[in-house]
């Protein structure tokens, strides 16, 4: 009897009829690689020209610049992720297309009556997809390898990188394809095939986001939005919090959860290792340091997903074999998949509810409310059950069927309830766990605020509670007097036992404190009841290589202040010194502000370094209280502005008459700081504000107090001490209790650092007409003091207030917000800590 190799025929036939998607994948991937490569054509051209001139070999020149390969670009990592997503999407689509025949009655009649077993049919089509995807992915990389060899020569690094990316993209392609094939071969409609495949593929990312975003609301100590950036003073933008990853969580890959989540998230598979390997694996241009430590990232995630793909293949084959042909054209007939999809979406709904209700709600009337964690969990479970039920009903469109299967939804809900309970009860000791000091190799802790002296750090602020109720300037005012928490940078490892013990002691206090809930605005009148929204993270690295990470999002004021002790460590001081050194390397324009910020004086460029070094000495010698809660006299401050001239920035002015942009201002170094600053502010109105922001907000503020001996000595010896002295006498003050003025908060919580420099030290009231005749009140002007402020004219009291006023202060005990008015009509708002003046002002 004649026989036919139906397997081979099916394989060939499937490839012949479904080659379009792989071709598109090839084109897309190859296109991306070419685009990335072409972003380096300038360097290559320069090398070629240089080689021509010098008689060198251009390849050797490029290798001398550490070029080994160009595959993906450091400058466009968004494109890398879009490429991954594109490959995943195309692979899933191919899986759906190859098995779409089971969703159509006509094709089912033909294929299921053909002389081929279901096993062979499935395997042949599956293999067709795998072969086409492998070719579509491998060929572009091999072509790029040849192109790279032409320009940079062959190298182990090149081939390893090519191999790595082939493995990476093949694995994510095969995984998506396997999932889509398994789903498509098991459901009755194309809509389900597409929808279910998408949900299951995305479920790994959904679960990751849900777990890392929602669980911290339920599990005490779980890090939230843990985008941990190891502080690098040389580059404060060296973070792992790239904008397109901002909604994702990047956990240290050695924490247990981090390892699991990084390995299962298909969309961003192995992301941590790819990016944390320095610039090497994702980039191509490396410097000598990174060149020497170049290594291919671990392949563990790919092994896991390869196994996963095989598992999905086996599952798909099983479901295809036993799939009932009669379900084609009918939705909701695969009970197993119905349950899985409903469970995923209801879990997503649960986490969404937890996250939404986890944020406290502040109404415009000042009323704050929040759900406690049990209420949140209950609401989440109810909504989850409803979502589960709705999805089930939508899929089956049969209430009878829903009733019959209700036990599954109850099981699902029951499991969720158990899960939630276990989280709320500390998840088997997770919440209270601190490793033994003997097992700890090092510890990292996040900083409470950004580094004194960091660019724009202290000045960055958000809407202040100070103005939330009284004035409605929050729409027009970009920042006010209480800065928000911009901290959360991870201080690099402490290895000495003393520091580790300090962190352990602090951590224990956090555990003993337990959940800290946001207090009502009324409660905030009492400072002892106040709390601060933070991102306090502690990461222990154990001697066996494991990492234990814990995060806390709200602390009482005393514990928050304790975090500032990290600024007394040698490590911190070392970073400050490095930061300042970078800062001072030609791009800074220091301006001395007088005590009341009424006077601004530029520092001669020849004195910049000396001033910086004096400040560094004082910072290293003094502890954090000297800057944040000083008992010494406030003398003034030094602001280091960014000099846009050095950045090559040009200001543009939109002349409405001419209907175009023209460059009208080139910043010049001027001894008149006021003129310099004023000219920029005028231009701000007509630019997009970025330049203004770059100048005006891009600065560092260092307070000068009577304790800073080195700085004072330097100013005195260089005739700059007088710059600290205001010339106009204080004639009156308006005063308000800081507790009253800061009780109510905006939706975006503010910090407890009083900072008068958000508007570059408001000292002038500015109202007037611009060059076009429009009346304006610049945001540097206006009445910021609440109506309840009390006016003080008593000279003795005014003197007392002046002597105890600070432009920057960590407000943990309360005091007074004071607006000083001087004889020249200028005003300044400052802070007077509690217990400093002899009488109470009501």
């Amino acid at each position: 009897m004649k026989t036919k190799n139906t397997f081979a025929f099916s394989l060939a036939h499937a490839m012949k009829k479904n080659f379009i998607m792989p071709i598109l994948t090839f084109i897309g991937l190859f296109g991306v690689l070419i685009i990335n490569f072409s972003s380096y054509t300038r360097e290559i051209s320069v090398a070629k020209e240089t080689a021509l001139l010098t008689g060198q070999n251009f390849r050797e020149l490029l290798r001398g610049y550490f070029f080994r390969y160009v595959l993906f670009s450091n400058y466009n990592d968004t494109l890398y992720f879009l490429t991954s997503i594109g490959v995943i999407g195309a692979s899933a689509l191919l899986g759906i297309l190859l098995f779409r025949f089971v969703s159509n009655k006509k094709t089912v009649n033909v294929y299921y009556s053909l002389g081929i077993t279901r096993t062979k049919l499935y395997c042949a089509r599956y293999l067709a997809g795998i072969i086409m995807l492998f070719a579509a992915i491998t060929v572009p990389f091999l072509i790029m390898a040849l192109i790279n060899i032409y320009y940079f020569g062959s190298s182990v690094m090149l081939w390893k990188a090519v191999l790595f990316f082939i493995i990476h993209f093949c694995v994510i392609a095969f995984a998506s394809f396997s999932i889509a094939a398994a789903v498509s071969g098991s459901v009755g409609t194309i809509v389900e095939a597409i929808g279910f495949s998408a949900i299951i593929i995305l479920s790994t990312s959904i679960i990751m986001v849900c777990v890392t975003d929602a669980i911290p609301f339920m599990l005490f100590g779980a890090p939230k939005n843990t985008t941990i950036a190891l502080y690098n003073a040389g580059n404060i933008y060296q973070t792992y919090n790239n904008s397109h990853l901002s909604s994702e969580t990047f956990l240290l890959s050695n924490t247990f959860l981090g390892r699991i989540l990084e390995n299962i998230d298909l969309i961003f598979l192995n992301r941590g290792n790819i990016f944390s390997g320095g610039l090497c694996i994702i980039g191509q241009v490396v410097d000598e340091t990174t060149f020497n430590v170049w290594a291919m990232p671990p392949l563990t995630p790919y092994i896991l997903w390869a196994i996963g793909s095989v598992a999905f293949f086996a599952l798909g084959l099983f479901m295809f074999k036993y799939k009932k042909a009669e379900i084609c054209g009918f939705m909701g007939r695969n009970k197993v998949l119905n349950f899985i999809i409903s469970a995923i979406l209801s879990f997503l709904a649960f986490c969404g509810v937890i996250c939404m209700l986890g944020s406290e709600i502040n109404t415009t009337s000042g009323f704050t409310f929040s759900f406690n964690m049990w209420n949140r969990a209950l609401i989440g479970i109810v909504i989850s059950f409803l979502v589960f039920s709705v999805i089930e009903l939508l899929l089956t469109r049969s209430f009878k069927s829903y009733k019959r299967n209700i036990k599954f939804s109850l099981i699902h809900i029951g499991l969720m309830v158990l899960f939630v309970f276990s989280l709320h009860l500390g998840f088997f000791g997770y919440s209270s766990y601190i490793p033994d000091i003997e097992d700890i190799k090092s510890v990292n802790i996040s900083t409470p605020s950004t580094l004194t002296g960091a660019k724009s750090a202290i000045l960055y602020s958000s809407y202040s509670d100070f103005y939330w109720i009284e004035n409605n300037l929050t729409d027009t005012v970009p920042g006010c007097y209480y800065t928000s928490d911009t901290g959360g940078y991870m201080l690099s490892e402490f290895k000495d036992k003393e520091s580790i013990q300090s962190v352990i002691d602090f951590h224990q206090k956090l555990i003993d404190e337990g959940w800290v809930h946001r207090e009502s605005d009324k409660a905030r009148l009492d400072y002892s009841k106040r709390s601060v929204k933070v991102n306090a993270t502690i990461v222990y690295t154990l001697k066996d290589g494991r990492q234990i990470a814990r995060g806390y999002q709200r602390l009482p004021l005393d514990l928050y202040e304790e975090m500032f002790r990290v600024e007394d460590t040698d490590k911190w001081n070392g970073l400050v010194e490095m930061e300042f050194t970078n800062f001072l390397s030609g791009i800074s324009v220091p301006v001395i502000f007088s005590e009341q910020m009424d006077k601004k004086t530029f520092v001669d460029e020849n004195l910049i370094n000396g001033l910086g070094q004096a400040i560094i000495k004082d910072i290293k010698a003094l502890d954090y209280t000297s800057f944040w809660r000083s008992d010494a006299d406030w003398l003034g401050c030094v602001a280091f502005f960014n000099n846009p001239e050095n950045d090559g920035m040009v200001f543009y002015y939109d002349d409405y008459e001419d209907d175009g942009y023209e460059a009208v201002y080139q910043p010049e170094f001027s001894n008149d700081a006021d003129y310099y600053i004023k000219t920029i502010s005028e231009r701000w109105q007509y630019s997009n504000g970025a330049e203004y922001t770059a100048l005006m907000n891009d600065n560092s503020i260092v307070p000068i107090t009577s304790e800073m001996k080195n700085t004072i000595a330097f100013l005195q010896s260089n005739g700059l001490y007088e710059a600290l002295i205001d010339e106009s006498e204080i004639v009156s003050a308006r005063v308000i209790d800081a507790a009253k003025a800061t009780a109510s908060r905006s939706w975006n919580e503010t910090d407890i650092i009083f900072n008068a420099f958000w508007d570059n030290g408001k000292a002038k009231a500015e109202k007037g007409y611009d060059k076009y005749g429009y009346y304006e009140e610049r945001y540097t002007s206006g009445d910021y003091m609440p109506d309840e402020s009390v006016t003080v004219t008593d000279k003795k009291l005014l003197k007392e207030l002046q002597n105890n006023a600070y432009g920057m202060y960590l407000d943990t005990d309360g005091g007074y917000i004071v607006e000083f008015k001087r004889a020249n009509g200028n005003t300044t708002i400052m802070f007077v800590p509690s217990g400093r003046i002899s009488q109470e002002i009501k």
Binding site: K106, S113, I116
Partner: protein
Amino acid sequence: MIEINGVTKRFQDFTAISNLSMKVEKSSIYGLVGYNGAGKTTLLKVVAGVYKPELGEVKIFGENIFDNEKVKQRIFYVPDDIYFETGATIESMGKFYEGYYPSFDKKTMRKLAEAFGLDTKKRINGFSKGMQRQAEIVLAMATNPEVILLDESFDGLDPAKRNLIKNLLLEYMAERECSVIISSHNLHELADLCDHIALINGKNIVMDCSVDDMNGSRCKFRLIFDRDVEEADFKDIEIKRFSRDGKIITLSTNGDVEENEKKLEAMKPLIIEKFPLTLEEIFLEEMESGNYNFKDIFGSAENTK
């Protein structure tokens, strides 16, 4: 050759066919008859291996058909809703089937196409519905199957093509000793073509016999008596249908025709006439359709005015 043993097929809560059994021998053309939704297509799909029965089994050539590659390569199922690949021609579909049927013969395909007047290189989706059916028949026959399952395949065909296919099947069956199961609503055609008929009613087969036996066991008599006669007076005879129009009595009987005739003659009718029942008449008798008084449905003329 085809054994259907106690097959039950359910679709969720609905049972399409229940405990259905029948046998189709070699060189036999089996006609499947039933009202719409009786289960004919379901049964054919179970026989073709498209559906798996909940209970019972279908054996072809002594082997269970479901997911049986070897057996399926010897049978061809022509569904009522035919499928061709997008942009396919008879040639390209021929290549497709050639990949799965070892006995596929391109020459046969081309000759048959010629006989039907079909261009093998033209796109099938440009054909009329009838031509598409013809194309499907051509492809089916080109696979040289030993079992052909035709689901309402005569629908949409002109009389000439019907005749052509009929002759083709008869010739093929005679040459290859294949078995054919045809479902159709065209009872007249089935009666001409099939040697066996199965009537499906109420999820089950209510009648399964050869056409000869059917003719031998079903008959219609028209009688005129000189007296009033009721249905009960014919108690010795298995009556399928009884009707009276004045003194004329028409009844159809089951059982041995000659014997029944003798019994009727013994009742001394004035006139006795005998007619063979058509398949359609047998179908209508067996299906027991309800008698609707359409006057009640639409209302009398006086009521509507």
